[in-house]
Amino acid sequence: MILTLAFRNLFHDRIRLAVTLVGILFSIVLVAIQLGMYLGSSRMITSMIERSNSDLWITAFGAKSFEEGGILLSTRERHQALATPGVKAVIPLVVAFAEWRKPEGGSTRVVLVGTDAEDGALEPWSLVSGTWQDIKSPDAISADDTYFRELGINGIGDTAQIAMGRVKVKALTHRIRSFTQSPYVFTTLSRARSLLGAESDKATFYLVQLEPGADAEAVRLELLNRLEGAEVLTKNEFEDRSLRQWLFRTGAGLALIGGALLGILVGTVIVAQTLYSSTKDHLNEFATLRALGSSSGYIYKVILAQAGLSAVIGYILGILISLGILYISRNTPLPLVMTPGLAGALFGLTLFMSAVSAISAIIKVTRIDPATVFNR
């Protein structure tokens, strides 16, 4: 009967129900977008590191992120690393921002990633056209098909210039989005060096693969000992550092989290307000219940059930709308991400929000005097 009464109270005033649902929905969509952007950003920022097949990353001292590592490491460090017990392979990677001159004029910035796929540490994933063999052919690079407009190209075969030299689009990746909005362009290690004018023994990162059974932490400490002026980070550490650089030094992350908090706040206030006014409208009925001998717990349950029902309905609508927005955003500069974890967290959040909203209504109801039942 608690659910029945809660349900009837809720649907009794359709307009108020609509306001409640819009409040919850608004909140969920806002939080989903903000957190979805946050997750989306995080994924973009860490995708290269995440996709790499490596246990440790050697970076120049102070490297802030994947994109900003400099081209400072040399073969000396590579040999020192290779000589460290437990190390199986040390694979060089060259990464740098570079100027891209569009075929029709004008220029933009790209992130040039020089890697030798054969080394087995990092390769362009999700190739939708062309192969790694194509990228190895003279002047070849891969570009991402979601960045054609920025790059001023139309597809395979187009030519452009990166920094010092001419390049030809020979392969296409699909939806490798970049948080910095500078598209990722893959090419071979040696071509990346020559395009960027770097010496042929230089690298941005060394990706370390360990012997089976080697203790990662011990190897890390030993590498730190041997390498001067370099840092040795685990994958997670380097991901965190990149995230901190792009999301927090730039303030973007704070804006997203702030937006999410605002969404929660606004939603809670709207729901609290409607729940309170609904409770006020039904105060006589609650007083009657009290006169009939109901415990106050029974009455709180009715109010909480009202809050919970609104939460469930609002959540379902909110998630549907969020998924719609997610779908629309998939090819934009900032594709939103929804994970089962985020969906679950949003549901928990909705329930929490509704429970908090119920507080004012419950306080109101605690003050009812059952004696009012006789004076109507």
Partner: protein, 249 residues
């Protein structure tokens, strides 16, 4: 002499604060026994509703004591008083106080739900009492689709569903026309006698006198008189109602 189910002893009740303070009851003694319909009559403002609220454990006396089935209410918390109400007392109000969003059946069921009686058996019981008050064919109606008399009979069903030993009614017929007023009074009288409950009804209405076993008069916060109706006299309306019940259900 039967044991009283509800007793008020030297009940004093002050209402309001400061300049607005009123002594609504000035030392009331009253005891109610099972099987009787008692009418509480008196002029407006004499303290009838206040006394009913105190007897029903909704208000607590400023001084004096109320005993329900011999159990003193002194010093009980609001939650404990609520428990006494749900165990022993049924209420009927002048303006019915039905839940507008619940059907007749659900209105009775919620009173059972409150005392922890749920599920199919509770639904059965609710239907049974509604049939008993002649509303067997109005189970699914919402209060807005019931006449005043029917609404008050739903309220009566709700009050007796949990089989309380005491039923307290504040001006149960005031909002009803003559015919419906008689029907409800007949019903209350029958509840007192057939179901052996103690029923106390506050009323202004002289038409209700014929149903009373006992009439208590209150004036200015004090009981000023009491009459007993001779035993064995039946109001004709009781027979009337029984006939109607047969037609309805």
């Amino acid at each position: 002499m039967t044991q009283p189910v509800l007793e008020a002893e030297n009940v004093v009740k002050e209402l309001g604060k400061g300049a607005g303070k009123v002594i609504a009851l000035k030392g009331v003694n009253l005891s109610l026994v099972k099987g009787e319909l008692t009418l509480l009559m008196g002029p407006s403002g004499s303290g009838k509703t206040t006394l009913l609220s105190i007897l029903g454990c909704i208000l607590t006396p400023t001084s004096g004591d109320v005993r329900v089935e011999g159990e003193s209410t002194a010093g009980k918390s609001p939650e404990q008083l609520a428990e006494l109400r749900r165990k022993h007392i049924g209420f009927i109000f002048q303006s019915y106080n039905l839940f507008p969003t619940l059907s007749a059946l659900e209105n009775v069921r919620i009173a059972l739900d409150v005392i922890g009686r749920k599920g199919y058996q509770a639904a059965q019981r609710a239907e049974e009492v509604l049939r008993d008050v002649g509303l067997g064919n109005r189970l699914r109606n919402y209060p807005s689709n019931l006449s005043g008399g029917e609404q008050q009979r739903v309220a009566v069903a709700r009050a007796i569903a949990a089989s309380p030993s005491v039923v307290l009614a504040d001006e149960p017929t005031a909002a009803l026309d003559s015919e419906n007023g008689h029907a409800v009074m007949a019903l209350l009288s029958r509840i007192a006698k057939e179901q052996n409950r103690s029923v106390l009804a506050v009323t202004h209405d002289p038409r209700t006198l014929g149903y009373a076993d006992r009439v208590v008069r209150i004036e200015d916060g004090l009981i000023v008189g009491e009459e007993r109706r001779p035993q064995g006299l039946d109001a004709p309306e009781i027979a009337d109602l029984t006939k109607r019940r047969k037609v309805n259900g």
